[in-house]
Amino acid sequence: MADAEIIKKRRTLQETMNFLAALSAGIEPILGRGANSMTMSAGRNLGRKFSAHAKTTDDLLEALNEVKRVLIENNCLWGFEPFKPAGQAELVTINAQGSRQILLVFRDCMIRQALFRFGHPQMGSLCNMMYGFFAGSLETIMTKKATLEIKHAGENACLKLLTIES
């Protein structure tokens, strides 16, 4: 696809995201926690749909590469990369419940751009959509439940903890 075409598609997606940001900011005070469930569910459906033909694997790093590929294939600008803090031996760690965990840094994010444009706070229902997307996508690729907890929502990057339930 030509660059101009990709930019046009992303612009349309960003417009939709701006619109969604306005909508979610409007419904959050009315629906409260219900708004999060709605966006989570929408994200999960999108994740499942995008990953329907993705390669299945139980290797977490391979699965993340597959999620990345799926996002690029659908012209979505949601760049993320694994993060290993200094002093931590492995990229993938195991928590007390025996579930695999990995820290992810999200840089370019259409949701963050949309929220900042209108002064909406981060970590709301629209950010929860990304949790839904990962849950849906990894459910399809790894056939396991996944959660994506926002550890920090920053101005230029966000830090999230991905947990794959054992």
Partner: protein
């Protein structure tokens, strides 16, 4: 590689950067009562410290700045009317 510096003379010692950093990149020097960069390798370039620092003392170099090229300013202007 990412670089981060604190302009020593500007730092007011408020510790905001220590509180906001999700990856513990700073330490506080009790002697000078100023913040210091301790673990630059841990910096994810979220720029929360830069945004919160009241003295604009923190500078990052060679970091990824989020892409904005797809933003449609005209659409945003139109939407503003409704918000």
């Amino acid at each position: 590689m990412l670089e981060m510096t604190i302009h020593d003379k500007s730092c007011r010692g408020c510790r905001f950067c220590l509180d906001v950093c999700p990856t513990d990149c700073f330490v506080f020097n009790e002697e000078t009562q100023k913040a210091m960069v301790a673990k630059v390798d841990n910096c994810i370039a979220c720029l929360s410290c830069t945004s919160i620092c009241p003295a604009a003392a923190i500078t990052h170099r060679n970091h990824h700045v989020v892409a904005n090229f797809y933003r449609n300013i005209n659409f945003s202007r139109r939407m503003e009317k409704f918000l």
